[in-house]
Amino acid sequence: MSTILPLDENEVVMLESHVGLMLLFACFVSLVLALLTKDDVKEQFRFGAMLFAGFAVTGVVLGWLMFPFPL
């Protein structure tokens, strides 16, 4: 049993948004990878945005591709 949960109803609703969690994950990973791989601030923004968009689009496309398959 976890010591930091349970959550109240509003939090549960927020946490069950799979897309929201995927976007949050993409945001964290894009930010760190952009800072690690680029030194110029403009390049960091550009690369981070591209990574984030790549995560988001790939997630949605894969979601639609899996749609016909049963759980």
């Binding site: 049993m1 976890s2 010591t3 930091i4 949960l5 946490l15 069950e16 799979h18 969690l21 949050l24 994950f25 964290f28 990973v29 930010l31 760190v32 990878l33 800072l35 690690l36 601030v41």
Partner: protein, 130 residues
């Protein structure tokens, strides 16, 4: 005339900042003077780890009888002090029944792996490769 202190070898400095960067995410970059990157890592990586705990993810213990669990534990350990704090404080026991259990695990594992990349980056900077 004051005598100059001999500079520590680069490998000693690299070992020190790598250990520092592993224990406290971002601290290695801050030590080497990269304030922007260090501050962002210091905030983002522990935040990502905390989010994984909040989502009901499990901080895995080393269990060599289950190789995948051992690998997940190794990845979790990459975050350094937050892993140790979570283990000691009893967080991260994991709620297997939670919808977000696997999401939490992903956040925890990836936060550890990202910090491992940060340690490697610090190593390169300390040796003058970047």
């Amino acid at each position: 005339m004051p005598r100059q202190q001999p500079k520590p070898p680069a490998s000693n400095l690299a070992a020190f900042v790598c250990t520092l960067a592993w224990v406290v995410p971002g601290a290695g970059h801050l030590w080497l003077g990269s304030r922007q990157k260090g501050t962002v890592f210091l905030v983002v990586l522990p935040l990502m780890y905390a989010t994984g705990l909040w989502l009901g993810g499990q901080v895995f213990a080393f269990d060599l009888s289950q190789p995948l669990v051992a690998l997940a534990a190794l990845a979790d350990l990459g975050i350094g002090a937050p892993y140790i704090i979570a283990r000691v404080a009893g967080f991260g026991e994991g709620r297997v029944v939670a919808v977000t259990y696997e999401y939490g695990n992903s956040f925890l594992v990836v936060a550890g792996l990202l910090n491992a990349l940060v340690v490697l980056d610090v190593y390169d900077i300390a040796l003058g490769r970047k």
